[in-house]
């Protein structure tokens, strides 16, 4: 690990002052960053610990919830209003990592965790455009069973590892930011970038910009939401494919639907085309599959991950059928 200076931020202003150093990074629970520093994939010279900033989870008028970025994943998953109004969020969190890691990891850090692409980690032996821009990508023609089927580029086929982000993408969550230029809000679906020619640029955050909170906007049918994760073992593994969904039915028809996919793209993938294909249609297995097909017509398999297309298709249909059945 490269030497660094450690400082604890007492307030958001303090954090912005401390981060002004060009090689400084914010530190949350450390469950990803400390590992990346140990691997020398991250070499900050200053760490600004922001775990002392807001971790409160508060009700917003109208039914939304505002989550301080320093809230630990466990605190969000166990919060009663989150479990009742947005079960997809609690389900996504408890599907991720281990209990020890969820006790440490912050919401802000979860949003900014980096890919687990093995070629990204293999500094000694592999080329990676994310790690060394312009170097090339050994995953494109390598062992790419875990890699992206949607939105990838010749420069990068890595996936975003977060479960929580998939739920947040489905719910239309808003990310509250604070930077040198003041405060702003971006949609979670706009926070992460697709790789294109610059996979090393993963988000739209400005240098030194701080995530202060995540807002779950009111969504009455958020109560009818869930998350399903398909992985190589029953627990404590990253997703091959995951689906977050919320469904509002009226007289057997889909009145509204929110759908997002994990494990398939460089960012949490909101399935806009599937949603559009489903609204107004009868809630049937055939229509659920047709909606999945509408989204997946843009999928492009690599050498080893073609199975993900069919797996995603079936998982989307199964999750929508589950929600339909539970609220029959």
């Amino acid at each position: 690990m490269t030497p660094f200076t450690y400082a604890r931020a007492a307030s958001p202003d303090d954090a912005l002052r401390l981060i002004s150093h060009p090689h400084a990074k914010f530190l949350g629970g450390g469950t990803n960053l400390v590992d990346l520093m140990r691997e020398t994939l991250e070499r900050p010279d200053t760490l600004v610990d922001v775990t002392g900033l807001s971790s409160t989870i508060e009700d917003l008028p109208g039914g939304g919830i505002l989550i301080g970025a320093a809230a630990r994943n466990t605190a969000v998953a166990e919060h009663r209003a989150v479990r009742e109004r947005f079960p997809v969020v609690a389900r996504a969190i408890v599907a991720g990592a281990s209990a020890q890691i969820r006790n440490m990891a912050t919401v802000g850090g979860n949003l900014l965790q980096r890919t687990r692409c093995t070629y990204f980690y293999d500094d000694e032996g592999s080329r990676c455009n994310k790690r060394n821009p312009g170097q090339g990508c050994d995953a494109v023609d390598g062992f790419n069973r875990n890699h992206a089927i949607l939105g990838a580029s010749p420069a990068c086929v890595a996936t975003h590892p977060s479960d929580l982000c998939v739920a947040l993408a489905a719910l239309g969550a808003l990310v509250h930011l604070r930077g040198a230029g003041g405060e702003r809000t971006v949609a979670l679906t706009d926070l992460h970038r697709l790789p294109e020619d610059h996979p090393e640029i993963e988000t739209v955050l400005a240098p030194g910009e701080l995530i202060t909170a995540v807002e779950l906007p009111a969504l009455p049918f958020g109560r009818r939401s869930t998350y399903r994760k398909v992985r190589d073992r029953a627990s404590y593994a990253f997703a091959l494919v995951s689906v977050a969904a919320a469904l509002e039915l009226e007289d057997g028809h889909v009145k509204d639907v929110r759908l997002a996919l994990g494990g398939v793209a460089h960012k949490p993938w909101r399935a806009w085309q599937a949603e559009a294909a489903l609204v107004g249609k009868p809630a049937t297995a055939e229509n659920f599959l047709a909606a999945a097909d509408a989204e997946l017509s843009q999928a492009r398999p690599l050498k080893d991950n073609g199975f993900k297309i069919e797996l995603t298709r079936r998982t989307i249909a199964a999750v929508l059928a589950d929600i339909t059945e539970q609220h029959a």
Partner: protein, 169 residues
């Protein structure tokens, strides 16, 4: 402000790179807590902070825990005594080589506290239930962050279940 380890104050390291795990083992010579993978994948380094929250000490920078209280396997019971979970691990053969055991036991202590306050798990059917039934499936899922390469999982689940039944009586 120092850090408190098993009730005793300890100086923070000068170098912020020192993990909580290395502070405990290399600076304080408390060798119960184990370094398995050192990358958050095995759970051998699990310790309890503050009110018994289980964390991975390998991923924790010691400086982040300034002013806080940490309990390792050495601090679970009074000197010379055993925590009930330690007794049940012996009784039910919850280990073979023993390397993962301190992490397993600290993790089980933290797990019970989470279960008691109603934190749901991946296998919890009703997310909004006031109380969550204690079952082998729940124990296995909630302990999935602690690997045992000897494969003593059946004994580990039996030990945790027995300790739970003992307390419930």
């Amino acid at each position: 402000m120092p850090i408190t380890i098993n009730g005793a104050p300890a100086a923070l390291p000068d170098d912020p790179r020192v993990s909580l795990l290395d502070l405990v083992r290399e600076h304080l010579h408390l060798y119960g807590t184990k370094k398995g993978c050192n990358q958050g994948a095995c759970g051998a380094c699990t310790v309890l902070v503050d009110d018994g929250v289980r964390i991975l000490s390998c991923m924790a920078l010691a400086v982040q825990y300034e002013g806080r209280s940490v309990t390792t396997i050495e601090g679970l019971a009074a000197p010379g005594g055993l925590h009930p979970l330690q007794r049940e691990f012996i009784e039910h053969d919850g280990f073979q080589c023993g390397y993962c055991t301190p992490g397993q036991i600290c993790s089980a202590v933290g797990m019970k506290a989470e279960w008691q306050r109603g934190v749901p798990s991946h296998v919890t059917q009703d997310l909004c239930a006031e109380t969550i039934a204690f079952s082998a499936d729940e124990v296995r899922e909630r302990m999935s962050g602690n690997l045992c390469r000897c494969g003593a999982y059946n004994g580990i689940v039996a030990a945790i279940t027995a300790e739970h039944a003992e307390v419930a009586e």
